[in-house]
Assembly symmetry: C2
DNA sequence: CTGTTAGCGCATTCAC
DNA sequence: GTGAATGCGCTAACAG
């Protein structure tokens, strides 16, 4: 059986293709009875308009792209859910691209998207502190973009992110109030957006408490699992901290592992808190205090901003920082 | 600035559109120098072929759909990575659809995909034991499909899944050898595919060990977090098991929570093992023994089967069960 | 190796 | 309220 198309359906119905087309779009006026008849026969014959022909004709795709550094962690999973919820209500499809934290990948994806595949982009940045010229193409192609969580300061676009400075300050303060005197800050890259902002909150909290805001206590790690463990081990060896704030979950998990291996008691000998959206923090060993970002809301909000731009035919979003509050969940790992 | 297209680019170059087109496709022969010149100018002018026009013209989309019951757990995240890796090497795009375990959603997605949006479907089933007539449409439209993990027995299609019976048998045997006498089996739905097969392995292991394979020990839960906790609590109350095999991670987490709340010592008073791909099982309280499915490989393998069908122009995959071995990771939660 | 020509399936003018 | 005609941007014969 050859595939059905609008022409065959029209022939079957004894109508013109334009009338059939009208039955599937809501704008044009059409006799309600004709419409109903068309839809009924279409259903029977398993016809639905070819998406690519429509896209071509209308030169719009009702599709947006999500570009994220990694996939499969709680934060991004929840953020994606938030985005998809909005996409669904706006009748849009989503395409997900994962950069593995590689800005070249990011650039490649952006380039590949500029052929009309998507109408807008929601992105968490992969290469803060590097060249971002690949984003200019979006501008040229009039494709609006919104950042969430991680963003480029030098790019004109709205960003929805957490109130990281404040949360970091509060988390550090909480460690101090729990009795910590020598608090390490664990970070992947301290020179860029979230790593940097969270560090500032941490440093200021130390300072305000009269503790030495010593940059030696800032421990930078790579993104590799084995490497992280080694770095943590090393840091423990020469810093001997009694507490730590981890800027991302992975680093805190490495601490838990290390403490387990070395029989360091948490929270007695060492207290730990981290930024994380993990849903099973309460059954970790020990239950882990977290700064929980509103991932779902971030995604949803970023999508809202994008769809607003899309429906009002704006070709870009305006430079603006939207901060959503995180909540500090205190558990055993930071008990006195 | 009006958008660039193949005609303008051709005009700019003093060439015909077909030559330009050839420069972007690898098949037709074209003067290497011409090609290079075209690609260079295209780069400068920010031209790339409109995807939707290509799709329409070639009537293929180089896109596949992934349909899964849920999103954001380790198993599906890893499986998706496996699929995407294969998709990338085959130069295909992926669209992800999440059903929230609702077969109506699944049917709606399938219907929406049949307008040519995708060339193939990789799916983990959401409604085992229910009507699956919505899948007939894929057949009519000649869209091949592959199941992974969860599948419909009554549908003709290849399925890539775990060796669940064997793993379940081994996991139960391990509990018995660790000293358990009264082992519960926790499951979301014992009448369907994975829940059913895993139960069979469990029951047979009990029987072979001379333990009563009592169906009372099979505890069925809903999919709701609060509900699961209540069911677990209730089961502990009247069954008083000394061990459990959980068919999915979520149920084991509820056990950990319950034991933590009630000061039940694991593994002394109660031993626990579950099917799970969780990567931080070693820092749970206590470290959790798991049956780890090869999620990434499953996804990759399912994608391989699909692409094989696609490249050989088959319109469906043949009914076949491909079993990939899981590995049992023994940790503290099942120690003697 | 390159150009000409003819659609892919659909949505939108513009007539009637 | 409906139909005829046109072209969205691209690719694949075919001819040269």
């Amino acid at each position: 059986m050859s595939q059905i198309n609008i022409k065959k359906l029209a022939a079957e119905l004894g109508l013109s293709t334009s009338t059939v087309s009208r039955a599937f779009r809501n704008n044009s006026d059409i006799n309600p009875q004709t419409k109903e008849r068309i839809l009924k026969v279409a259903e029977e014959l398993g016809y639905s308009p070819n998406i690519y022909a429509s896209n071509l004709r209308e030169s719009k795709s009702r599709t947006i792209a999500i570009i994220i550094p990694e996939f499969g962690n709680n934060f991004f999973s929840q953020a994606i859910k938030g985005i998809e919820q909005q996409a669904r209500t706006n009748n849009y499809h989503t395409l997900i691209y994962v950069t593995e934290d590689d800005i070249n990948q990011e650039a490649a994806f952006i380039r590949a998207l500029c052929n009309g595949r998507v109408e807008g982009v929601i992105m968490s940045a992969s290469g803060e502190g590097l060249k971002h010229s690949h984003l200019e193409m979006l501008n040229e192609k009039h494709i609006p973009m919104v950042f969430f969580d991680r963003y480029y300061e030098d790019v004109e676009a709205t960003c929805v992110t957490g109130n990281d400075y404040e949360s970091s300050y509060q988390a550090t303060k909480h460690l101090i109030e729990s009795g910590c005197q020598k608090i390490a800050y664990l970070v992947i890259n301290k020179r860029i957006s979230i790593g940097k902002i969270r560090m500032q909150g941490y440093l200021d909290a130390l300072k305000d408490a009269g503790l030495p805001a010593d940059e030696e206590l800032v421990v930078e790690c790579t993104n590799d699992k084995e490497d992280i463990y080694r770095t943590v081990k090393n840091a423990f060896g020469h810093l001997k901290p009694d507490g730590a704030l981890a800027s991302v979950e992975r680093l805190a998990i490495a601490c838990l592992r290390f403490c387990q291996d070395e029989d360091i008691n948490i929270p007695e000998d060492f207290k730990l808190i981290c930024f994380s959206c993990i849903e099973i923090a309460d059954v970790l060993n020990p239950p882990l205090s977290t700064v929980k970002q509103p991932a779902f809301e971030m995604g949803a909000r970023a999508a809202e901003v994008l769809f607003e731009a899309l429906t009002s035919k704006k070709t870009a979003t305006r430079k603006e920082l939207i901060l959503l509050p995180s909540s500090i969940m205190i558990r055993k790992s930071t008990e006195k």
